[in-house]
Amino acid sequence: MEKLVFDPRILMASLYVFALAAFLGYQIISRVPPLLHTPLMSATNALSAISVVGAIVMAGRENHHSISTYLGFIAVISASINVVGGFLITDRMLKMFKRDVRVKTADKKGNSK
């Protein structure tokens, strides 16, 4: 049974996690090149679909009202669309980014294949 009232110590610990994650996120993400901004958006979108874990518990546990189970069920669907879709499309995009696919003829002066 999860706690319905915030233990202030847990709230503080959660705030610490939040602050550190925010700092870490800022440090890492400001170094992502504009080249990869679209994959970055779909990747972070897939990550935040981790709310699927909350949805799974909601859909599977003994709820006071069955409506909660159904809401949890819909939440599982929409979150898992993002989990599966987000990772797959990010990979599909990243696969396309290649450093060099052709021989640079300009640099090699007639030495092209």
Binding site: E2, S14, F18, M41, A49, A59, L71
Partner: protein, 456 residues
């Protein structure tokens, strides 16, 4: 709380951070995302052993339906539809967070503590407004909702009022968590607010809106983490929230506008008096002229915009670039941060067409190169190359950094017709003596150019 489940969550958090770290370079990006996906799988599998779970059928069915839809969307969605897909996925993410919150309130309602209900309120408000806001953004990108700003007199005041009532019900709820009316009022108003927040924004400002919605969806997930006391949710949600926030700031900077101005300015609907002063004639050029110019150039810079995406011209552009390179022309691409409808939109399209990322240059890298460039080819871009932003302090886009194609020795603008661009602004670039206009659909123009270059 089961310690083993907690360990999978910890592992997931660490793998997520490594995954994002991978995205700082295209070579390490795929491996990074693989790690993140492994983390996600671990967290989901771990959760399936949660002691409170008593029946599994809803979980399996839900995961199956969601997985199939998600996989289908990502396999068959064309790359030009990335902005639409992203808007939809923001909506799904926000919906999931909001529904978990509503279910939580349905379960415990009045017996929740005040702080807990406070966190729940954030989750519901952010989740609901992101859900409807993202759906409207999707509608605008897909063309179901009018792309131009839809606004009415007093909209901002109306929004402020709505926001005030929403926050009022939130405070009331936190004061007395058992008042379900306050909860549902807050929820309904958040749903309305999401719609009203996005409809007055023009489609050209979509990069900012997409980034902001990305941020809100992440923060909604983080708030879910606070409510459920789940750290991996807080971490992943916060990373997402900050990523969206950073992107919004970058996009706003690339337009020299504040977030407030984008959200409440209804850009593009105002009448421009100062801008309509561009005079002179536009010089129309033929395919053959341009082909000769390109074929004998030393350096050519392509500047793509949303027009390239709508015309699906990226593959044709790659063919033309290959032909030119084979002739010894140095080909580069100059990409403005807000070109297209979402951050990085142009890069993905060109990568899809097999253009190597080593020839994709950011605005600040390409600008010093332009005076040495023989021909700059603008493909369906307008505002991002509008010299008024630099020269005319009275212009509505004054101060916006641009790709300075007018400094190149010669400019060719590919444009569908003689009309004004998306923002309705006059673009003096089109009237400059160095500029030649090539009218027609971008894809057929580029294909025609490639044909003509072959014959030169």
């Amino acid at each position: 709380m089961n310690i083993y489940i907690e360990i999978t969550y910890l592992a997931a958090s660490i793998l997520f951070v490594f995954g994002l770290k991978g995205l700082t370079h295209p070579d390490s990006a795929r491996r990074g995302m693989l790690l993140a996906a492994a983390g996600m799988t671990a967290a989901i599998v771990g959760t399936l052993f949660h002691p409170e779970i008593v029946r599994y059928h809803w979980i399996w069915i839900g995961l199956l339906i969601g997985g199939v839809i998600g996989a289908a969307m990502s396999i068959w969605m064309p790359m030009t539809s990335m902005p639409e897909r992203t808007a939809l996925s923001h909506a799904f993410g926000a919906l999931a967070a909001a529904l978990v919150g509503i279910a939580e309130y349905e379960n415990y309602g009045g017996s929740m503590g005040k702080l807990k209900v406070g966190a729940l309120g954030f989750e519901i408000m952010l989740g609901c407004l992101t859900f409807t806001g993202s759906l409207i953004a999707f509608g605008k990108l897909y063309g179901v909702v009018k792309g131009t700003p839809i606004t009415f007199k007093g909209l901002n005041i109306f929004n402020m009022g709505l926001l005030a009532v929403m926050i009022g019900s939130f405070i009331y709820l936190a004061y007395d968590p058992s008042v379900a009316v306050a909860f549902y009022t807050m929820m309904t108003l958040a749903l309305c607010f999401g719609v009203l927040l996005v409809i007055p924004i023009g489609a050209a400002d979509m990069p900012v809106v997409m980034s902001l919605l990305n941020s809100y969806a992440g923060l909604a997930a983080a708030a879910t983490g606070f409510v459920l006391g789940n750290n991996v949710l807080i971490i992943a949600g916060t990373l997402d929230g900050f990523s969206g926030f950073i992107l919004s700031v970058l996009m706003c900077r690339a337009m020299n506008r504040s977030i407030n101005n984008v959200l409440f300015g209804a850009f593009g609907s105002v009448s421009h008096t100062a801008a309509d002063t561009a005079i002179g004639n536009m010089r129309e050029v033929t395919l053959e002229d341009v082909a000769v110019q390109l074929a004998y150039a030393k350096q050519v810079v392509f500047v793509p915009g949303y027009g390239m995406a709508t015309a699906q011209a990226q593959h044709a552009v790659r063919d033309l670039a290959n032909l030119l390179e084979a002739r010894g022309v140095s080909v580069k691409f100059g990409i403005h941060p807000v070109a297209g409808r979402m951050p990085g939109h142009m890069n993905v399209l060109l990568a899809e067409a097999n253009v190597p990322y080593s020839v994709l240059y950011e605005m600040d890298q390409i600008n010093p190169d332009l005076p040495r460039t023989d021909v700059a080819v603008v493909i369906g871009a307008n505002d991002v190359v509008n010299p008024d932003a630099r020269d005319n302090p009275g212009s509505p886009i004054a101060g916006m950094p641009i790709i300075e194609v007018d400094r190149a020795k010669s400019v060719v603008v590919l444009k569908r017709g003689t009309g004004k661009g998306f923002s309705g602004l006059e673009n003096p670039l089109f009237f400059k003596p160095v500029t030649g206009m090539l009218y027609g659909d971008a894809k057929s123009s580029i294909t025609g150019l490639a044909q003509a270059v072959r014959e030169v």
